[in-house]
Symmetry: D2
Subunit: 317 residues, 4 copies
């Protein structure tokens, strides 16, 4: 099952789950539309051929949805009945924070081995260095900023570019370093508008004529539009523009890194279930598979490497 927001690489993970399971002579069912489909029993048997030629596709062939019904105990009861009537012995859920929380709630009420896979472009789950879709999302954002830089450079403009990440600055930070941004505004690091203005004044003094400021969705200084407005007021000679990259960050053919990560995690999830592991999320830390309890995966805070934030400031000017 895929659940929550889709992320590039989910199809590669599904392929790996299906093929590893069949390699072990297991039967696999694909559950459509996340918990919603589980409740409705919307699922079908998957064979090896059903996952051929999908490793390169964005989105998820199992579709995904947020289920209001699953948040109720009646909904979860129906889901469990569906599991029993379909003789399901174990469940693999690919999704983000909310999906793993739903899985945790479910296992507290009902007996069912569940393994989760970190499927979220935000990379905000504890227990894995990178989550499925993150690498693709930062490359999409960097490509977009490369295009914006062409026009920023031609016009000597200041661009505020907003990338995804409501609680987490990972996308913004990597995108910012990768695109040579002048500054990065993320929720994890205290920053003030004064610092930003100070940077921009320095930049102007050194005749750096255009800049891109990368802003995480969850910025505490205001979103990209608000920041642009504030800067325009304080530095009226600056021509500011705003681009919100938006949903295209969720799509696209996954990068090689995301395909390899997804393949390894899909394989690990099946092996884990066979070894009796459950209520845990499979992740890769320092190139090794680790299983982290759902509770830790969703509640422990993944720290931003402070070296990276320092790097932005040193390389910007």
């Amino acid at each position: 099952m895929t659940s929550g927001g889709d992320a590039p690489g989910m199809n590669a993970a599904i392929r790996a789950v299906v093929r590893t399971a069949i390699y072990h002579d297991l039967h696999v069912y694909g559950i459509m539309n996340g918990f919603e489909g589980l409740i409705k029993g919307n699922m079908h048997r998957l064979e090896k051929g059903d996952v051929a030629n999908i490793i390169q596709r964005g989105g998820t062939m199992l579709k995904t949805a947020r289920s209001a019904q699953f948040l109720t105990s009646e909904g979860r009861q129906l889901a469990y009945e569906s599991i029993q009537s379909n003789e399901i012995d174990g469940l693999i859920i690919i999704g983000g924070n909310g999906s793993l929380r739903g899985a945790l709630d479910f296992t507290e009420e009902f007996q069912l081995p569940i393994i989760g896979l970190p499927g979220t472009i935000d990379n905000d789950l504890y227990g894995t260095d990178f989550s499925i879709g993150f690498d693709t999302a930062i490359n999409t954002a960097v490509d977009a900023i490369d295009k914006i830089r062409d026009t920023a450079d031609s016009h000597n403009r200041l661009f505020f570019v907003e990338v995804m990440g409501r609680e987490s600055g990972y996308i913004a930070l990597f995108t910012g370093i990768g695109s040579g941004a002048g500054n990065v505004i993320i929720p994890e690091v205290e920053s003030s508008v004064d610092n930003l203005i100070h940077y921009l004044q320095l930049a102007a003094k050194r005749d750096k004529l255009f800049s891109v400021i990368v802003v995480a969705e969850g910025s505490k200084l205001g979103n990209a539009s608000e920041l642009a407005r504030i800067v325009s007021e304080k530095l009226p000679y600056t021509e500011t523009k705003v681009t919100v990259i938006g949903h295209l960050q969720r799509g696209g053919s996954p990068t090689c890194f995301d395909r390899v990560l997804s393949s390894r995690l899909g394989y690990a999830a099946v092996e884990g279930l066979l070894q009796g592991i459950h209520t845990k999320m499979a992740g890769i830390i320092n190139d090794k598979i680790f299983f982290t309890p759902f509770q830790d995966a969703i509640s422990k805070k993944k720290e931003i490497n402070p070296e990276l934030m320092k790097l932005v400031n040193i390389l910007a000017l």
Copy 2:
């Protein structure tokens, strides 16, 4: 000189102008920052090597700006003095509507042979089938929608995607056909919200679960956000999302088509000046070079092919 908004392919055109001119033993100067640089005499001699390895680059190596000063007769007087003191015998301007209008005004006051090249992603200039940058812009927009479609498909959502084109629906129309959009809203074609609702109701009836509606910036029904709001009110069961593709449409490495077009036009501009042609825009119509008077290029209306609009409707459902 490049002027107005930048467009992918401008560098390829500059390369062609420089190399064709030197082939004819002419001296070439690159004027920086459009009319602003002309006024200030900000220009430098270009040799063949200066335009090496730029054919693939977005933006413009000569930068571009809008010049308030050039709109005044004092500014134009200064520009003319700069032309005389630098012994310039002819001028090639790559830009859009506003730039050619500026050139026309200039030639009405001063004697100087000027040839214009259509450099605008909007493709709204009369006298050429396609303008420099259009093909790249529609491919950028289609790539973005391909990514959005992954996530739209995974979530069964309705996406409103806004593309550039303030006066012209060319980008929206080609992007819409190329991305298999459900509907296209452009300034040239009268359309009503009722038609859009009607389409969406039909789509829902046929179980078409996701759709992308492409909206030109200059839509007379409201921009993408406004349309999404209206539709959400009328079809409350629909989950709508909005993406404004924005400035990344102006950037990026030009497509092969744009590079070939720009190379041919750059060559034609120099040949045209040598043949005594002036106050005209070089364009390609039916694969042949044509020179169109500035007045016609900027004021005559380029018609949208009604067959293409019909195609959107037939292929959408």
Copy 3:
């Protein structure tokens, strides 16, 4: 039916054929594997939903093959029987030269309205400005050469890059202009190794330190490897490298241009059959739909614009 080599945009054309036909209340069958599938009756009904979400996909959902059996009159007899038993009233074939020739042979023996669509990256069919897949192929080749240029530039090397086109230099010519190649070797234009050596000596004299020479598969001077060897012998101080771009030119998501072209042609094919047109290929010339007899489409020579060849030489140095 798709036939012969695949080309990006074939799926977009299939989508347009299916949806236009259903718009006219016709039944549509997709024939698998070209003439081979026709002979075996390997076909199935297509509904609108079957062609959803394929406009962006390379390859062809109907697969394609070359059929030895169809070259025999027994094979064609079987194909006709399959047509009769499946009550097919008209056939649309998307393919290249060989496919249209097969169609022509077929119509000389049996009564069946057939319309062809030009589906070949080679762009060598008379009766259309561009064929389905050409624009994508030249962009793929130009992207590849952009990457090669990075390394050529870093190392001051001479690269011979071979692109597809056995009888036709269209791909090589457009790719060459688009990639700023030093020279283009195509079957249509008489060229000698001496000219190439002369260019390279000039380039060396002007300190142009790296160059890319684009060679069409059908080059009469020898393929890329042979040319590299000859040049290495005559100019021993030159470090030469060879890249054959190969089959990746046939694949990839189609460009916007190819999607629009394919959509228009698919629509035109259905409209043509309904108007009683047959034994003709639909093409677009000067932005208008034209129907060209198969005989002309496959035997008349499409001329290379000599201006473009001249452009290569002027812009190279």
Copy 4:
């Protein structure tokens, strides 16, 4: 200095070195053409603006070359004199195995602090999880195979795709997993043609109609063409095709991962020199900077993770 084969990300590393050095009030000189330029004193001062807008560019702005002269002790003597006369206090070399070996030889004869950065798409240097350019190269190869898969799928063909890696199978292994290859042939893993034939027979039995086999340049079973010939003889019903991806793997705009890696390593190199570290290569292992003696970096063997090879086999069918 960049040396040896170029790799995407070298420019990002140069940018980081220059900006970090100037942040510490150091003077930086860029040495052109590797050791060749060092010998000739071909170097120039770099300021912050000189490395603006290069983070996204493939190749290396400092160019690179292999120097025969530096292999002689006379050459190295000249290089040292150039270092003295230019008052160079420390050297940062970005390159692969051969470049670090050259640096090691140099430090054994002359006193000069040198830090190396792993710049090679092959990822064969001990002391870093990934080298600069590897991630871009595998994405380029995977993109190419995605395109080939379109046509392989449409034609039911068997493709042998050769990727770079003379001594190392890293590129082939990651590319193989990322592209869903049927098999991967790499120098590190003993494999026999029989195994390959066995896989292909199984694939045929299960109606897997097309496959891509990824072959490392350094394959001990023969290169892609030889393997294709052998397979054609043993399985004559199989239609085989060969593509050698070639030099385009070295070029292209670096991925976000490569830009971040290069930025971190460039920063680390300068910090390392300031801390008195020398004759070591900076690398990143488990997300932390490590300095590895040149001797180890070039002679210790980096192991292929056997889990990954297993993954290929399980997921292929």
